[in-house]
């Protein structure tokens, strides 16, 4: 801020990207310390009842668990830098393969959820902010609080019950019907993209239908936060001088809200969407379990239940990397949109 040169966009982006390194390092160290310094032997915990003592010992050596902790730590950092997240103990799969196969389902689920969240939250937040302290405001705020407070899996179960009762033919679990999964060739790991690439309209419709319920459920959770934010921002920008100036020029109130106050209230939404990525990830894990969605969250829970340290470590590491990458991407995007954001 001190000099004019300090405020340039490329400089900001460069600093932000360089800051990834320490942030990533701290998160990875935390993950390593939590999962490797924990008491108990990972191999015994996962497959101790299935293998002989000699076989367990060789597994341990293969995983490098017999080496000093510092060596293990450095090796771990080195492997993560090469995007190698290890091999699971319980079924000997590379974690990266799990991410490639299952990550697509989680990705389309979250993207769809954001779409629903924005569709619900932007109009409602604007209405509540415009009509502050009226009955409408109260109703919308209660909706916001409740949709945030309601356990996402409970909302999911109720929606399933509702759909089963009134639209029995609508799919309520999984990402695609058995025929679609059989006929659509796997190319990208994202079944929606595969179906489009295969140019098979029936499959595309089928996959989209499967997406509606889970995405809507996760979207409701996110909309609670966005409603609150948009409402507060609209209230604040309605007090600003430039809005007052617009009113003074005789512009009708509806147009003042839509063209002047609302637009500026949207900028922080980008930031918050980024901050909500962590919440989205938590919500996605629960949504996947509710709808039997073949994503990373379900895999994580399965490996936690199997007490597979390496798989849990690998997946949690991947989530940590994703959190860091998204936070940087959002900051850069924010700097592009809002010229006031600079170092």
């Amino acid at each position: 801020m001190a000099s004019a040169a300090a405020g340039s966009l490329p400089r900001y982006v460069l600093i932000r990207v360089l800051l990834v390194v320490p942030m990533m390092w701290v998160l990875l160290t935390i993950v390593f310390l939590l999962l490797r310094v924990a008491p108990g032997d990972p191999v015994t915990a996962a497959v101790g009842d299935k293998l002989s003592p000699e076989a367990l010992e060789s597994r341990r050596a293969a995983l490098g668990l017999d080496r000093p902790l510092v060596v293990q730590y450095l090796e771990y950092l080195g492997r993560v830098a090469q995007l190698d997240f290890g091999r699971t103990i319980s079924d000997n799969r590379p974690v990266l393969e799990i991410i490639k196969n299952q990550g697509g389902a989680t990705l389309t689920l979250t993207l769809g959820a954001f779409l629903f969240a924005l569709l619900i939250a932007l109009p409602l937040g604007r209405l509540a902010g415009r009509h502050r302290d009226t009955a409408l405001d109260a109703v919308i705020r209660i909706f916001g609080v409740v949709s945030y407070a309601a356990p996402i899996f409970w909302v999911g179960i109720l929606l399933v019950l509702f759909v089963i009762t009134f639209v029995p033919s609508w799919p309520t679990f999984g990402i695609a019907s058995a025929e679609t999964e059989f006929y659509v060739p796997d190319r990208t790991g994202i079944i929606l993209v595969d179906a489009i690439l295969a140019n098979d309209s029936a499959s595309v419709v089928d996959v989209l239908q499967h997406h509606v319920l889970p995405c809507f459920t996760l979207g409701l959770l996110l909309s609670g936060v966005i409603i609150r934010l948009v409402r507060v921002n609209v209230i604040q920008s309605l007090k600003d001088d430039y809005v007052e100036a617009a009113r003074a020029r005789g512009i009708p109130e509806r147009r003042v809200v839509r063209k002047h106050a609302f637009r500026n209230a949207l900028v922080p939404v980008i930031t918050v969407i980024g901050l909500q990525f962590a919440l989205t990830l938590s919500g996605a894990i629960l949504t996947e379990r509710t709808f039997n969605w073949p994503g990373l969250g379900n895999e994580l829970v399965a490996y936690v239940t199997a007490r597979d340290y390496v798989a849990v470590q690998g997946l949690v590491t991947f989530f940590a990397v994703a959190v860091v990458v998204v936070s940087v991407a959002v900051d850069v995007l924010n700097a592009l949109v809002d010229p006031r954001v600079r170092y």
Binding site: P22, M23, V26, L27, I30, L34, L35, A38, P39, G40, A45, D133, A138, V145, V146, Y148, A149, A150, P151, F153, W154, I157, L158, V160, L161, I164, T165, T172, A278, L279, L281, S282, I285, L286, R289, T290, L300, V301, V304, T305, R307, V312, V316, F319, A320, V323, V324, S327
Partner: protein, 310 residues
Amino acid sequence: MRRSLRTIWQTRGLARYLLVAGVVMTAAFVVLAVFAPWIAPYDFAQNTTDAGERLPKLAPPSGEHWLGTNDQFYDIWSRVVWGARTALQVVLLSVFLSALVGVPLGLLSGFTGGWPDRVMVFLMDALYSFPSLLLAIVFSFLLRSAVGGGVLAAALALTAVYIPQYFRVVRNTTVSAREATYVEAARALGARPFTIMRKYLFGNVVQSVPVIGTLNAADALGTLAALGFLGLGIQPTEAAEWGYDLSRALDDTSAGAWWPALFPGLAIILLITALTLVGEGLNETLNPALRRRRLQPVRFTALAREGGAR
């Protein structure tokens, strides 16, 4: 205490009523939790009547079983009541423990400054940026072998998740309060660092803790239920837990049974809403930046008396 009650009452708009509604709802759950053995007709893991007769499986709500029974032959009303006890135990314990660790840590870190402060902030921010459910999953995964799958394990897992929030708030207020004139005056009088922290900073810094505490309690309750739903929380043999009951109810949806899912979920949502209302209400009435005061009727006698007292 009386002064803060008056502050609450003099606030304009919805905030006051939201706060009162939240307090009343929370109190109702506390009653359920405390008097669970007398309110619930059955024990939390009891699937036979006292005469030894088995309860019906998946019976819809009736006069006999107010909220029906679930697929494990449990009476759902009893499970909901006992679940309130579990939920409040875990949440109280975890909020208390995380404040106990987070507040002194934040105070110390903010007051000391320098590189230890930098390191702590970096560490806590990293933890904070992590998805809370993921952290809770990792901690309960690790605690399972050490502490088992009971109320204590769940509370400890949640404690670890929420420490950074107290740390951040307390540390930031400490940093801004550290340079205030009254602290400088204390230092000039020769007060030792510990005395400054305890007598001068603590009272000023701790004010935001009740608000974070109640909002955290609401969040912790959701995380607890989520852990239970994923089968990673409190084990069914240890206590009744709403999230676990919902994971069982998931399998009954295809049969069209709605009552095992509806009631535990309603309990969760009501308690979370209640705690959120208390937290938001406190925030909007106690936080001078958000608060909008009502116009008070001017009473000259009262004014005169107050002026005299001063």
